[in-house]
């Protein structure tokens, strides 16, 4: 375990933001903390970053309680992004890199490579304020990597990114992992998280709902789910016999069946009504698992279905 949280608690006044949380982040993995807004993700991450102190519990990095030296080994992307608007791209990268004790020479030797990958090389000497929002996000992502950290901690990784940039950043994260490094990120967009994580931890109301590898988590839920893509209105799906639950995603439906052996009968009755583009038996989505486990509120459900990211997601 590269990072461990043991019985960590944090309360703001009488409200428990993080409630007895245990996390084990294996080295070389991509670890996702997933939950709706207000679940305690940012508080957890800020405690790992030593920005706020836990009320009780322990946070260990490589078996030792985190201290000031941890700050140099981590690359951190806060939930709310921001850079010096008056500095040039190059100055910002150099400054933030040096604050992590990287040398100017080391930073300069990798800077152009990252800028190139993020399509920002032409803006190297432009002021940050001249960059678009998306470009600033990519620049900030570069600053988290520039000092070659051992672990990346990315709060609300996908917020404010368009699909093309999400892909760019995913590639870099996967490559970072390939070099044996660890990535911990949080998101409320389950659809996106699912494509990236090895391990997950779902939290709700400051409490852990479940955790484990993606495979384990899904394995525990059996194959009673069908992914369905149709043309036209799918409101009739709920009325079909043998269907327990219908989840409406942006471009497809997820059906939870009472009995998997009835799937062929089900497909027939759907084909009678609409044109079917895809009918696939799949593992349940994280979203559905979360709904089942945490029984979240109506607002949380909306958010978790990725309606904000869904509009742009591929």
């Amino acid at each position: 375990m590269v990072l461990r949280l043991e019985n960590v608690n944090k309360a703001y006044g009488s409200k428990k933001a993080v409630d007895n949380l245990d996390l084990k982040v294996p080295a070389g993995s991509i670890y996702g903390i997933i939950g709706p807004n207000g679940a305690g993700k940012t508080t957890t991450i800020r405690m790992i970053m030593n920005i706020i102190a836990p009320d009780s519990g322990e946070i260990l990095f490589n078996g030792k309680t985190i201290d000031a030296s941890f700050k140099n080994k981590v690359g951190y992307l806060p939930e709310e992004r921001g850079l010096y608007k008056q500095m040039t791209v190059k100055e910002v990268i150099l400054y933030l890199g040096q604050l992590k004790l990287a040398s100017r020479a080391d930073i300069s030797s990798v800077m152009d490579g990252y800028l190139e990958r993020m399509n920002l090389l032409d803006y190297k000497n432009s002021k940050v304020e001249e960059l678009s929002k998306g470009m600033q996000q990519k620049l900030q992502f570069i600053t988290t990597l520039i000092h070659d950290p051992e672990i990346l901690i990315l709060d609300e990784l996908f917020s404010g990114l368009d699909p093309i940039n999400i892909e760019l950043i995913k590639d870099v994260i996967l490559e970072f992992k390939k070099n044996g490094r660890t990535v911990l990120f949080s998101t409320h967009v389950m659809e996106q998280a699912e494509k990236l994580v090895d391990n997950i931890c779902m939290i709700s109301g400051g409490k852990k709902v479940l955790d484990g590898t993606l495979h384990e988590v899904k394995g525990n839920y059996g194959k009673n789910t069908v992914r369905l893509e149709i043309e036209g209105d799918g409101s009739f799906l709920r009325e079909l016999p043998g269907v327990d639950k219908v989840t409406n995603f942006t471009n497809y439906y997820e059906l939870t069946l009472a009995d998997m052996s009835q799937s062929t009968t089900l497909l027939k009755s759907i084909i009678d009504k609409v044109r079917v583009n895809r009918f696939e038996v799949i593992e349940p989505s994280l979203y559905n698992i979360f709904i089942e486990m945490a029984s979240p509120s109506r607002e949380d459900i909306k958010e978790l279905a990725g309606q904000d990211a869904g509009r742009t997601a591929s």
Partner: protein, 437 residues
Amino acid sequence: MKKFLTIFKVEYAQVVKKKSFVIGIILTPLFMLLITLLPAFLAKRDISTPVKYAVIDLDERGIGGQLTKALERYKLDSDTARQAYDLVELYEFEDSERERLDSLRTELDSLVRSKELGQYVVIYPGVEQNDSVLMISKSLNIRTTSRYDNRISDILSGMRLEESNINLPVDSVLQMTRRIDMQRQAPGGKSRDFLTIYFGALIFVMIIFISVISFGQVLMRSVIEEKSSRVMEVLVSSVSPFQLMMGKILGLGAANLTQVGIWVLIGLGLFVFQGALNIDVPETVGEIIFNPVLVIFFILFLLLAYIMYSAMFALIGAVVSTDKEAQNFIFPITMSLMLPVFTLMYIVQEPDSAISTIVSLIPIFTPTMMVARLNIALPDAFTFTNPIILEATIGLLLSAAFTLGLIWITARIFRMGILMYGKRATVPEIMNWIRHK
């Protein structure tokens, strides 16, 4: 330490690279010259055109006539720096003609009001017994008043002299009774006039005031900006809040010293090359620039004032979220820095009074007050037998201790406040931050 140096360098470079830094270097001395020279310039303004005046003489001894003759002298000299006078009319009649006096005064009053007449003088009978001379004018010009005063007094002296049968020319008697102009000297034999001391002290106090206020506000804005742009969270994930605060305070402080250093160098340059540049730097100014005790104390107090007030500005930046909110807090800070400027008239007159001493030992007033007092005393050697040196040293230590305490408190508030976005911290919250580890 390395992180502190990185912040220090970046903060320094960010300020020094800006155009406003260069503009400040040029404009601030110009501004100070303007405020010191403007009053003198304004006072000289009206001399070119003669002032129109009238005299009503009810005394019947010819005082009015002598007065107008005396004032003609100024008319002849009008190309010198003196104000010239232009007589409109001399009215001489008896005191019994009250009605004529009343209507004449009404007429002249309206002329004064419409500025066609600068002033008029009414000389009542028996003027030497009861000081019954009146001058009616709109302006409060001290020189004009004293000119009439002196001339009429001289005329009366001459008259009394003639009545007393002493056979001497009037001028030589006036010469005999002439008052002396006393010069003050400090112990040690240095003599400077009041205005030189006043403006000397004022300039030093103003340099502290301007640099502390301007750089302190730069610091405060940069904290507010880092908070509102959320860079703050990235920063505290890399450095400790204390490193960040000290890096910012000292980085900007170095920029401040650079600016003052450039002024001092320009001042020294002007003084050293005054011959070549064909300018005349008064010796009294040179005494200040070349007084090592004064200059060293000044630089120490400037630094101390800067760090002390910067800690306050950093604190404000940490607890507010917008510039606008910050303005409420800046006012008391500005006032405490301005206090010596308001009270300088008194301090110059009584630099060693109990009040001056006590107030200058209150840490937040020490830097400016002590610099003002040192300027007045102008010590020529560093020795504790000189009370001002002893007091300045005590003041330096006291305010340094105060500053350390202030930094400790600010660091605790800063640490929490910088991550509080969008809402101003309440007093109970702040007290809580100071108490908790």
